[in-house]
């Protein structure tokens, strides 16, 4: 519901002050495009595109000009450690590399909110730390909100607010 992929049975979800109830499919798509980045646990990359094209897709949707787009993609793929695999088809990348493409895609357009499902689960320690640093920098410098689920204490240690779930319910004492 926070991703405007579904609608609440009752109540209202607001993203950056925008109410999400009663939106048409097109308006909901525009809201997701402009405000939200997703990192899915199983990556959900577009299989027939390269790492570069996967990141580029969202930026094209946003209408970012070609020159700026090129610079943003190069920077973000470099930041997630894929500078040498930008033009590789994502099906030829390892699970960790695909995870990094998914992260790059989610943050490249500087969304207001990034919803990430286990963003460091498939990454080695060094890469995981690099991603955590990337998230911290974006949060500090651009005010991007990261909402993520994680079993990784390095990630949960970063959070300004942590909600602990046990069997799908909020754990007693969790804030």
């Amino acid at each position: 519901m926070m991703g405007v992929l579904d609608v609440p049975t009752y109540g209202t979800v607001r993203i950056d002050g925008h109410p999400t109830d009663g939106l048409s499919r097109t308006a909901a798509a525009l809201l997701r495009r402009d405000l939200i980045g997703f990192v899915f646990q199983s990556f959900n990359l577009i299989q027939v595109l390269t790492a570069w094209e996967n990141v580029e897709y969202g930026l094209i949707l946003k209408g970012m000009p070609t020159g700026r787009r090129t610079s943003v993609i190069r920077d973000i793929l470099g930041a997630v450690g894929l500078g040498d695999k930008m033009r590789t088809r994502v099906t030829r990348l390892s699970g960790g590399e695909q995870q990094r493409v998914a992260i790059a895609r989610a943050v490249a357009g500087s969304p207001k909110v990034v919803l990430a499902d286990e963003p460091t689960a498939n990454l080695d320690t060094k890469t995981g730390l690099a991603i955590i640093e990337l998230f911290r920098t974006m949060n500090r410098e651009r005010g991007t909100t990261f909402i993520f689920s994680s079993h990784d204490p390095r990630m949960t240690g970063l959070a300004h607010r942590t909600v602990t779930l046990i069997d799908g319910r909020r754990a007693p004492g969790s804030t």
Partner: protein
């Protein structure tokens, strides 16, 4: 520049290539559809060409000019008014060499104890050759009837036991309605390919006919004009303008031979029905492929929606894939069809076993394909429209999905 359509086309193309075997099967099925459409159309055009060539070139021509009421009673000679004026008009319209003046009546031909009723045509042989193909079917003697001779069908000569040089008597009704009789010599035999025609037609020079039927020196009862079917209407309009003051009956082959026109229209209707059936099957094939594609990629489409791709853009993506399949198939099918039609245009299909007694194939039984550029374009347009139509419903279905359901699917 917004490059979204281009990246969607790139995705569509790569998805087609990702499932090569399935894509090839779909492309082959659609290509077969367009191949059938083009080849059948070319054969139908060739068939109609042959039917028109035979029907118009045997005797009728594309246009005929008569005095009003001519068809009511042929033995009652009705000469055209002002034949010199008509001749001048034909010259001015550039129709001299493709128009044949005739004096035509029914007659009885007597050979000893045998006889047969025939249509007797007095012709100007040099002009007649611009309208009919009888001059190309001479089997004995001469085409140009010398004074005192006649040209008859070989089948008629056989039935009357006649050979070139044999005498025959002709009985007819002259221009005053009186019985007339003359003796002529068989000068030549023709074999048009249509036995029924050969049994019933004899030719003599137009001067001999005028003398025999006691007409005025310039009398003509019929002018046949060998105009191509596609030029008939324009020519008739010019003739009506130029001959407005004369009481004439100017008719096209469509009025003279409605059976021919109806048969061609029946062919067209049957062909169209066949094409509708073929392309319905083609459309179902594409729709089936695209539905499978959408089921397989439901999760990917959900991801695109999550990224902010709106329903219209998802429709475009799916339809682009369908259209690309259609375009590849159209290219393949068109190339194969052009090759097949080129071969059929040279070698043809021999239909003599089926057409030896058919008036529509008197000029020959070899059916050759004739391919028109417009037919290829139409076939390609039909194929692409079919592909688009077949893709649009699965695409709309994909666009209506709830992203959350699509992302949950395995």
């Amino acid at each position: 520049m917004n490059t979204l359509p281009f990246i969607h086309i790139r995705i569509a193309l790569r998805n087609i290539l990702r499932h090569r075997r399935r894509s090839l099967l779909t492309i082959a099925a659609v290509a077969f559809g367009i191949f059938c459409l083009i080849v059948f159309q070319a054969l139908k055009t060739g068939l109609h060409d042959k039917m028109l060539e035979s029907s118009l070139g045997l005797d009728m021509g594309g246009i005929q000019i008569h005095a009003p009421g001519y068809e009511m009673n042929m033995p009652l000679l009705r000469p055209l008014p002002e034949p010199e004026t008509i001749s001048d008009v034909l010259d001015r319209l550039g129709l001299h060499s493709s128009s044949a003046p005739r004096v035509k009546t029914t007659a009885l031909i007597l050979a000893g104890k045998r006889s047969s009723s025939v249509i007797l045509s007095g012709i100007a042989p040099d002009r007649e050759a611009g309208v009919t193909f009888i001059h190309r079917t001479i089997r004995a003697g001469n085409y140009v009837p010398a004074p005192g001779t006649l040209l008859m069908g070989k089948a008629l000569a056989t039935s009357l036991d006649l050979r070139p040089g044999d005498p025959v008597d002709i009985l007819a009704q002259d221009s005053f309605g009186q019985p007339a009789r003359t003796r002529l010599t068989v000068g030549g035999l023709f074999e048009s390919g249509l036995r029924r025609f050969d049994l019933a037609h004899v030719y003599l020079s137009i001067d001999d006919a005028r003398t025999f039927l006691d007409t005025e020196p310039n009398d003509v009862t019929e002018i046949a004009i060998g105009t191509r079917p596609e030029a008939v209407d324009a020519t008739v309009a010019k003739l009506h303008d130029a001959l407005a003051g004369l009481d004439l009956q100017i008719r096209t082959y469509r009025e003279l031979a409605p059976d021919l026109v109806q048969l061609m229209e029946l062919n067209n209707a049957t062909f169209n029905l066949l094409i509708i059936i073929v392309f319905t099957i083609v459309a179902m094939g594409i729709a089936n492929t695209m539905t499978t594609v959408i089921f397989e990629r439901f999760r990917e489409l959900g991801t695109l929606a999550a990224l902010g791709t709106n329903p219209g853009q998802i429709v475009f993506l799916i339809v682009a894939e369908s259209a690309l399949l259609g375009m590849m198939a159209a290219l393949l099918g068109s190339m194969a069809a052009v090759l097949a039609c080129s071969w059929l245009a040279v070698h043809g299909i021999d239909l003599s076993h089926f057409t030896s007694s058919n008036q529509y194939f008197a000029a020959g039984s070899l059916l050759r394909a004739r391919l028109a550029a417009g037919d290829i374009l139409t076939a390609n347009a039909v194929t692409l429209l079919t592909a688009l139509a077949a893709g649009i419903f699965p695409a709309i279905r994909a666009a209506r999905m709830k992203p959350v359901d699509a992302l949950r699917s395995v």
